[in-house]
Symmetry: C2
Subunit: 581 residues, 2 copies
Amino acid sequence: MTRLFNDPARFADDMVTGFAAAHPDHVRAVPGGVVRARPTRTGKVAVLTGGGSGHYPAFCGVVGPGFADGSVIGDVFTSPSAARARSVAEAAQAGGGVLFLFGNYAGDVMNFGLAARQLADDGIPARCFAVTDDIASAPAGQTARRRGIAGGFVVFKTASAAAEEGASLDEVVRVAELTNARTRTLGVAFDGCTLPGAGEPLFTVPEGRLGLGLGIHGEPGVSEDTLGTAEDLARALVAGLLADRPAGTDGEGRVAVVLNGLGATKYEELYVLWGAVARLLDEAGLTPVRPEVGELVTSLDMAGCSLTLSWLDDELERLWLAPADTPAFRRTPPAEPPVDDAAVRPAAAPRRRARSAATASGAAVEVAELAVHALRAARDVLHRDAEALGRLDAVAGDGDHGRGMCKGVDAALAAAEKAHTDRLAPAAVLAAAGDAWAAEAGGTSGALWGVALRAIGGALPADRAPGREELASAAAAALTAVTSLGGAEVGDKTLVDALAPFATGFAARLRTGAPVSEAYASAAAEARTAAENTAGLRPRLGRARPLADRSVGTPDPGATSLAAVLTAVATLRATTGSEPV
Amino acid sequence: MTRLFNDPARFADDMVTGFAAAHPDHVRAVPGGVVRARPTRTGKVAVLTGGGSGHYPAFCGVVGPGFADGSVIGDVFTSPSAARARSVAEAAQAGGGVLFLFGNYAGDVMNFGLAARQLADDGIPARCFAVTDDIASAPAGQTARRRGIAGGFVVFKTASAAAEEGASLDEVVRVAELTNARTRTLGVAFDGCTLPGAGEPLFTVPEGRLGLGLGIHGEPGVSEDTLGTAEDLARALVAGLLADRPAGTDGEGRVAVVLNGLGATKYEELYVLWGAVARLLDEAGLTPVRPEVGELVTSLDMAGCSLTLSWLDDELERLWLAPADTPAFRRTPPAEPPVDDAAVRPAAAPRRRARSAATASGAAVEVAELAVHALRAARDVLHRDAEALGRLDAVAGDGDHGRGMCKGVDAALAAAEKAHTDRLAPAAVLAAAGDAWAAEAGGTSGALWGVALRAIGGALPADRAPGREELASAAAAALTAVTSLGGAEVGDKTLVDALAPFATGFAARLRTGAPVSEAYASAAAEARTAAENTAGLRPRLGRARPLADRSVGTPDPGATSLAAVLTAVATLRATTGSEPV
């Protein structure tokens, strides 16, 4: 919803004030809207965009060299008056006449039409052109009745570029008409926007549904469907547009493309969608020319997006690619084709870290095998507990701890199995497992488990079973690796709160002469208790772990998953009866 | 919420695929992220941004000449692994060493730190720098523990520009440190974002409240407050930042500024806020240098924003302004100062439309006065019915019909009163009223009421009371003006459905010899019935009125407000007993 405003009735005025203040190099405010900061050359056709506000960067965001000469700004979703249109035109016109460009909506058609007639009466040649790109708003035989949505961006761009080149008013109108005739847009909405000061959204779409062709102000669409995958949506949009391919474009393969977000459907989502759209266009024999993926014609915080295809001939491609410099859109001259991959500086040689890749011998073979068993036990318990770990993490984190641990342990187990199949020594097996865990899981826990596994392996001999001292050292090495990488201390509400009591308890019990399996099991039980006790801790803020105070009362997910793994490995030891770790 | 994805676990990978496909001129994908499409010159320091994804255009959107050399991309809100960081660094490095730039979060510090050490072991000089701009995350004495948010954009920009200029790795690190030390950000959140595939938002903020200093992943903030006006928020942000002004900047007045939207807080809102922020900065003696108002560091569809101030010395200002060309951010060379307003081409002479401004004489004075009375009656009924009209309009429109009519009638009445005080003729009084209505209200109804009032006036004599034929003509002229401007016909579910029966009924009754007041009252009653009957109509789609089918069952708001005004004027006639309109 729209939350930032002063008096809702003054929203558009306040917006223009702030917009002009932010872009003094590009625009200056005049009654009714904005014009370029610097006058254009005498005789140039002035291209003016306009309409209700709430669609930024449409329409005022594209005023500047290479694009519009000015923009007429109405209240939110309300056509500006003819008087405002006239005022902006009088400030922007440079003797070459004026073209108003806008979307095909009743109020805009009336007000810009009135303004153009009045300007003409006053001796300023003025024309209007209403964009009609929305294929969902009227059938193919009635294109003149279609409304204008994101495809207006392409029409505005080519017409403005023609004016910048010095075309006459008639010529600029011809370019606008030609571009519009070759431009098709199909949009979807997932949810409506909320106007400044309104308590309810303008319209709603049921959760899990999408309105195909629903207009940007909630005008009726083609159908309501189940929201599927991004791939499904890409197919629906591309197929819809190709079914309405403009006459006279058969055999033409170059298209300007706008994949437009309406406000709350964000860039990452648009890029996911674009991956599928680009593939489908390629399959259809179409080549996107400088596609625009982002927010170009929004509708406040509406959720949804649209796809525009505009078939280019040579003239329109030149105009589409022409440079522009505006607050919201800058086009630099077309770059040289990217360097071919083969010519790119060869990547540095793959990193080869010195590591003990010696094959295992003697009892070390079984130790390596036990490491693989331990990772399997870890995998089983982490997959079993993944959802519960996610819930713990969701209290103060982003809820993905279970998923991240599964990703990590799966990769670690696969790497360890391969290394063990190659009969590598325990150190190499655990190094491979740690590296794979860190690389696949990423994040904090991935990095920590990566160094911990590597450190444990580093303490184990390659040709025999480890002694009691070596086992104690392995646990201590894991603790040291984790604390020196992460910087956390006991009491910071991290996995250190479980790892530290395990490492010290294990070593202490080994020193008393306890059997290794008993020492391990007792230490693992202590780790478990310690993990539960992290519920009472307040996380340390700042560098190491910027978690919310609201996690107080909830055990730390990292300590919990560590304790679960240690416990599962203890059970494994009990069932296999093996003595060494 | 995030709605567009295929497999949520593959979201970041799919995003990178689409991103690289959309920007082949700028980037190419490599394992772990993206690098520039074209290799940089040998010996240049490679600046790499990175972190979890979900923050676009941070971090991969700013790869290109003048900005980053590459970007390391993790899963959503998850630090990329050291292996990914190393992979991107190896592809991007050009012999001058590597600098990883990222926000101060545990996972990023660990993974980039590991990668830098491993690269250094392999003979590639590599450094890390963690941005700490968020003043809400730790107190002033503990700046090193602060997390990094939108201020990272300024640090990335200046450090990248220094590298582009040919600075050494040590120098680039120095610039990053210096910029970071002079950069402060304070943010607010209004609501949390929803991760791909998640059913619930990551966190929530109660409606009507804001979390001051709440982190972009929901980390704890400073306080929760009532959401006030944009002006209130501007004061809180500016005051908070000035209270944490960096040491050594006293007397310095030039600042890079980023007013950053987090995803669902849109451009119009940010510009409204900027208007207030710019004024407050000016009052504090600070001059924004090329301020950035928009979405630079987002958090999926999170609602909220942040303000960053970065105090510039001469070196940092040069680097902040240096050109850059990336997918999401293009900086053209600083423009010449805008032309002084006085030097701008003088606006065309104010339009003077030929109109009958003759002073009224005879009974025309009372006719003009009656017109003012009629507008007063219209004002009273429209203000009384404004909310109900808004509700009618909200069914298929944007709910502002009542507000727009009030805006229009208030302006019309003021203009008519002034014209009548100047003793102008009825035509001039109604022309002034119509022009004011259209100019102030804008939109469809503003334009229509504007031409209607003007048309009525045009039918009235300047020196006597109108005859019965002239009264009938006035009503017919209003209908003609409205239909020729708007193109609607009876049955299209517009105000024509009320105006047409009024005009024809009024004329027919006058022809039967009925007293004017009776003829008027009967016609007004018919208009009222006709307006109610629009409830059963299906609006015509397309050019004239692209309304939703869902308005079937609801009377048309434009017809309803017209009928209400006609009825109120009839009552007025009954109370004043005047005969002519």
